[in-house]
């Protein structure tokens, strides 16, 4: 083959790195094994980096050292400082970097193909490498610009409202076709304009694809871009004949795809409808107009404290509002006080509660809630009927019984938590008018056994804690 022959030991090292990454993900099958898994991931990365450095003539070790040090320091500081509630935007920001790095590597390979051992006998870049390079750069660029938009929307720097261009499907399909066509043409003509046009168009399509998607759909987008960044890494792995990159690419690609699928399924929406965009602006924007004039009961912090202290079992249902209000620590305190009174406290987590998969779990974990008190929907749903109080805090859609009964509801068919079966439902939110992500009213507010606790989630829980003391 025209590739530079690589020592089998080097290839073995990359295989070992790939296996480390598999072990890293496998570790996440339970919290106990997860930290060992994460260490395995670090070891795998160290093996990959060191193998690369020792097996190449490094003309610029100091520069590389400085580059790693700068990047590492930035990454480390961000990781230490970031609030857990900001995880969705952090993940988006990180993805954009992976995407950009893939583009840069692709460009470097294009400019200096000898270094990558992808030059054919004629002195030109190998055909197969051109396809892999083109695909890698295109996917990387889409990942980059898409993730930037996702970050801006999630971080609130940009309105979450879908921005709908006229004829957007037409423009998008045209651009995608142009990119694929140019990559095909690239195999015939490796002129710079082809390469850079592919890159430029790919950046553009990344923006175009994501701006029409509403802010609340961003988690699916982030996950999808995660998947893309994996496929970009795999494409680079094909170019470099690097097992570690191929394995990683497949792992990450599968991970993003499966998480997107899980989210779409739990929201009962098709992936296509998410990607086509136009749905779910800011919660306020989408549901501002709902007129509510049915009777409902308002409660105070004291009422809530009294009711819960009398209870045998309280199930807490956290949602997006709890994350926004950062109420998890106050909530944990409340749970501790209740347990001190002999009340059994459990947490029920809907698969799409909050705004990213596992969002609520990580926040509760941050507040040191034991994870064996935290249950998935299937495991706890039958328990509401046996509970005295369901304490819903900042959640809305995930408790909406319309999903079970009302065929016209946008969330019809989505599995929901049966909070209304509890003896009393306490519902913490800021206003009767504020709806959730899906922008629909919730029948539970108006039920006889429901008491609305209208206030910011954190403030309300703190007041409840005070009244208990």
């Amino acid at each position: 083959m025209e590739h530079v022959a690589v020592s089998p030991w080097v290839m073995l090292a990359y295989l070992v790195a790939g296996v480390c990454f598999i072990i890293a993900l496998r570790g996440l099958s339970s919290p106990e094994s997860s930290r060992a898994g994460n260490r395995a991931g670090m070891i795998g990365m160290a093996i990959a980096v060191i193998t690369t450095l020792v097996t190449h003539d490094v003309a610029s070790l100091p520069e590389i050292g400085i580059a790693i040090a700068i990047g590492g320091a930035i990454g480390f500081v961000i990781a230490k400082r970031i609030a857990m509630t900001a995880m969705p935007q952090l993940v988006a920001a990180f993805h954009s970097l992976v995407g950009l790095a893939a583009v840069l590597v692709g460009a470097a390979a294009y400019l200096n193909p000898e270094a990558f051992g992808i030059v054919g006998a004629t002195g030109e870049i190998l055909t197969v490498s051109r396809v892999e390079m083109g695909l890698g750069v295109a996917i990387g660029a889409i990942t980059f610009s898409g993730s930037v938009i996702a970050f801006l929307k999630l971080n609130g720097n940009m309105s979450g409202k879908p921005i709908i261009l006229p004829a957007r499907h037409f423009i998008n399909l045209g651009t995608l076709a142009a990119i694929l066509g140019l990559i095909a043409y690239f195999t015939q003509d490796q002129d710079p304009w082809v390469f850079w046009t592919v890159t430029g168009l790919s950046f553009a399509i990344g923006f175009l694809l994501i701006i029409p998607i509403g802010g609340a759909d961003m988690p699916v987008v982030v996950s999808m871009l995660n998947s893309y960044s994996g496929w970009a890494a795999a494409a680079m792995g094909f170019t470099l004949h690097n097992t570690a990159m191929i394995i990683t690419g497949a792992l990450v690609g599968a991970s993003g795809a499966i998480l997107s699928y899980i989210m779409c399924r739990a929201m009962n929406r098709s992936f296509i409808s998410v990607i086509a965009g136009g749905f779910g602006g800011d919660a306020a924007a989408a549901g501002g107009g709902t007129a509510i004039d049915r009777p409902w009961k308002r409660g105070s912090a004291e009422d809530a404290a009294f009711l819960m202290k009398q209870a045998e079992q309280v199930i807490i249902v956290p949602g997006y509002g709890m994350a926004v209000a950062q109420a998890q620590h106050a909530l944990r305190e409340m749970g501790d006080l209740l347990e001190a009174e002999g009340v059994t406290v459990k947490y029920a987590i809907h698969p799409v509660a909050g705004r990213m998969p596992g969002h609520m779990n990580v926040l509760l974990a941050e507040a040191s809630v034991d994870y064996d008190k935290v249950f998935e929907l299937e495991d706890i749903n039958s328990e509401f009927a046996r509970s005295d109080v369901a304490f819903v805090i900042g959640a809305n859609d995930v408790t909406n019984p319309a999903a079970k009964t009302d065929k016209t509801s946008p969330i019809y068919g989505m599995p929901v938590l049966d909070v209304e079966k509890a003896k009393t439902v306490l519902f913490v939110k800021r206003s009767m008018g504020g709806v959730g992500y899906a922008g629909v009213d919730n029948e539970v507010f108006y039920r006889d056994n429901t008491m609305m606790l209208l206030a910011d989630a954190k403030k309300m829980v703190e007041d409840i804690v005070k009244s208990m003391g």
Binding site: N38, V98, V105, A115, G358, D370
Partner: protein, 94 residues
């Protein structure tokens, strides 16, 4: 490595990815996103190759820039995962 070997490795890795991700407990889906982020920065290998090689200064600087970005991700991704995972505790307050 010939193309077909690489393809075989890729196909099998896709199966492994499929199974391993489904085996992740939903409670750890956020750390999963963070750690996949970190490992997808294995693309740093390509960046290092570009940065290490002589020949094309522009390729070298592109490579170095990519090294910086990938490093942010690697250190940031693993560190934030570690921070999250350290929070998952069982019965430690008793």
């Amino acid at each position: 490595m010939d193309f077909i070997s690489i393809l075989s490795i890729f196909v099998l890795a896709c199966f492994v990815g499929y199974f391993v991700v489904w085996s992740v407990t939903p409670a750890l889906h956020t750390p999963l996103m963070a750690v996949t982020n970190a490992i997808s920065s294995v693309i740093i290998v390509g960046a290092l190759v570009a940065a290490a090689a002589g020949g094309s200064p522009s390729a070298k600087w592109l490579g170095l820039a990519a090294v910086v970005m990938a490093s942010v991700n690697i250190f940031g991704g693993f560190a934030v995962t570690e921070r999250m995972l350290a929070m998952y505790k069982k019965k430690e307050r008793k």
